[in-house]
């Protein structure tokens, strides 16, 4: 049917959005941004047992300007919130935020004066991973789901961040 039949083997046709999103989702670079207990599990994900490089993500970028994904791993204090927002603003578009653990997601058990009750007060969040702290497998699951989400996004949605 149509053009595909006339093409030699080895050539695939797709649309630009799908192709770009495929690339984006398969080499998502996280920012090195650890806050609390969850950061240790995030590092464990980078370790040999769970090995995040299977998903093309082992390059934790020290500079937010080179990163696509901010994993908010841990509790966000009132003092940290402006810093966190600034790091988010420094990341180049398109960018995604994964809220790791219950403290980042909703404040969790620390419902008190010191913490921001959910990082979504400060930055828009694309994926929430529950747990205190989430197991590395849970984080990987969240990351895979985020990949699926990215693959299905339109450019307009990504630009809206």
């Amino acid at each position: 049917m149509g053009l595909e039949e006339k093409l030699p083997s080895g050539i695939l046709l797709t649309n630009l959005e799908k192709f770009v999103n495929y690339s984006r989702s398969k080499s998502l670079w996280p920012a090195t941004f650890g806050l609390a207990c969850c950061a240790i599990e995030m590092m464990a994900v980078g370790g040999p047992q769970h090995d995040i490089s299977r998903f093309g993500m082992e390059v934790f970028r020290a500079s937010p300007r080179q990163a696509d994904l901010m994993i908010v791993a841990g509790r966000v204090s009132q003092k940290m919130a402006p810093v966190l927002r600034r790091i988010y603003d420094q990341m180049s578009d398109p960018k995604w935020v994964l809220s790791m653990g219950v403290c980042a997601t909703s404040g969790g058990m620390f419902n008190n004066y010191a913490l921001v009750q959910g990082v979504d007060h400060v930055v828009p969040v694309d994926m929430y991973v529950p747990g205190c702290p989430p197991r590395p497998e849970m984080l990987l699951d969240g990351i895979i789901k985020l990949h699926e989400k990215i693959a299905g996004q339109s450019f307009a949605e990504q630009g809206a961040h």
Partner: protein, 430 residues
């Protein structure tokens, strides 16, 4: 007053310009550089304000509080048992030490002592936790100084220890397993075998770390004579733990104020003379080996018996088995409270919803955590909730010595010094 609003009259602000432009603007003045709170090698959210004279660091001002969680205040609104859940999340690399120190303090106020079996299991878990914590220290410290292989190796073995913790406590981190009066649950039947095989693995791998780094010229270049802290300076700054022992002072609370039956075990308190970052590295390696000695002795003499005090006003049901629904329950206990005794049911209800009262008073209970003296200053007003719990965090105190240790070195050495202190920001900021 803040670090950022000193007198700015003669100051020049630059951000990422060419070096010539900066150099012209700066002239002979010192440069103030902000490092952190988001920085890959500051161990979390530590912020350091460095005053530089070229590459040499004149002055370091650590700024902390970016992870302040209000745990001490939150615990005042919860019962004594619930407090464990909060304090275990404080220093997240050594959760079992936090739990033990807190529980020992509460037990001292209550005038009770956990059964021998519970004490021995606490010791075994704590020593494994010490190894895990030191492994993370070696892993992150290695990563920050460019030894990335150490990072993968440290996390590889740490996973084994976390597997053990998970099989016994149900969680990889933040266990809330140690409770006032004993433990939340007894260990499994294969606990001893698991521990022994794990120790065998770790003992083998320990040589690997030593082979990798002990004589590594790059590693030595980065750590020898960097961040020297003498014993007298350590006293002035209140520095405890491996930093103090690396300065040649033999001081270990496990020997000085034995808790949980540490006096039964034969182990050496490791000391080094040099007091630099390299000495702290070798010392921690040897400490891990000593921890294994303690674990093996504790396993040899692991007593039987209960793991929770007898007093039903304090003891939670602790002989839990996992039912078909995946929820841990104690069938005989449930039979007792549901079928046999109304008073037992009332007691259980009160115990769970309101907890138990603790006699009024203050105690300060310290344990030797991987980072130094971890002390819990617990104040009770005689009720079912803590009036105030203050935690003397070794990371908080040790971090104060950063300026003393790193001033005069180069910028890159600041990373080595901070790594050798091994601060955990969750503990520093609480």
């Amino acid at each position: 007053m803040s670090a950022t609003d000193a007198t700015w009259e003669n100051d020049v602000f630059v951000s990422g310009a060419d070096w010539e432009v900066v150099e012209d603007a700066v002239g002979d003045n010192t440069i103030t550089v902000n490092m952190g709170p988001q920085h890959p090698s500051t161990h979390g959210v530590l912020r350091l304000i460095l005053e530089l004279n070229g590459e040499i660091v004149n002055d370091i001002k650590p700024v902390i509080g970016y992870l302040h969680t209000g745990i001490e205040k939150n615990a005042e609104y919860r019962t004594w048992v619930q407090g464990v859940t909060f304090f275990t999340r404080m220093d997240y690399l050594s959760p079992l030490f936090n739990e033990t120190a807190y529980c020992l303090a509460v037990e001292r106020l209550l005038g009770i002592e956990a059964p021998e079996r519970a004490q021995a299991i606490r010791v075994i878990l704590m020593e494994f936790n010490r190894i895990a914590s030191h492994l993370v220290w070696a892993a992150t410290g290695g990563m920050e100084l460019g030894a990335l292989t150490m990072m993968t190796m440290g996390f590889r073995e740490r996973e084994r220890i976390l597997d053990l913790f998970e099989s016994q406590t149900g969680l990889r981190m933040n266990h809330a397993f140690i409770r006032p009066g004993g433990l939340a649950n007894d260990v499994t039947d294969d606990f001893e075998d698991r521990c022994r095989s794990l120790v065998a693995i770790l003992r083998d791998k320990m040589n690997e770390y030593a082979d990798l780094l002990l004589k590594n010229p790059i590693w030595m270049e980065r750590t020898v004579d960097i961040g020297v802290l003498t014993a007298e300076d350590a006293r002035a700054y209140g520095v405890t733990g491996p930093l103090l022992r690396a300065a040649g002072v033999e001081w270990d609370l496990r020997k000085a104020q034995p808790y949980c039956g540490y006096e039964q075990y034969d182990f050496d308190v490791v000391t080094e003379e040099a007091g630099d970052s390299y000495a702290r590295f070798t010392l921690r390696l040897e400490e891990m080996r000593q921890s294994m000695r303690i674990i093996e002795q504790a396993l040899d003499t692991l007593p039987g018996g209960p793991i929770m005090v007898e007093d039903k006003r304090i003891a939670w049901p602790s002989q839990l088995g996992i039912g078909s629904d995946g929820i841990g329950n104690d069938p005989s206990y449930i039979r007792h409270i549901m079928g046999e005794s109304m008073e037992a049911l009332i007691n259980h209800f009160k115990l769970v919803t309101q907890g138990f009262p603790v006699p009024a008073g203050q105690v300060y209970q310290a344990v030797e955590s991987p980072r130094g003296e971890l002390g819990y200053a617990v104040t009770s007003a005689g009720t079912n909730r803590p009036w105030r719990v203050h935690v003397r965090e070794p990371s908080f105190v040790n971090l104060q010595a950063t300026n003393h240790m790193a001033a005069g070195h180069m910028v890159a050495d600041v990373v080595a010094v901070v790594a050798s202190i091994d601060p955990v920001m969750g503990g520093v900021d609480r």
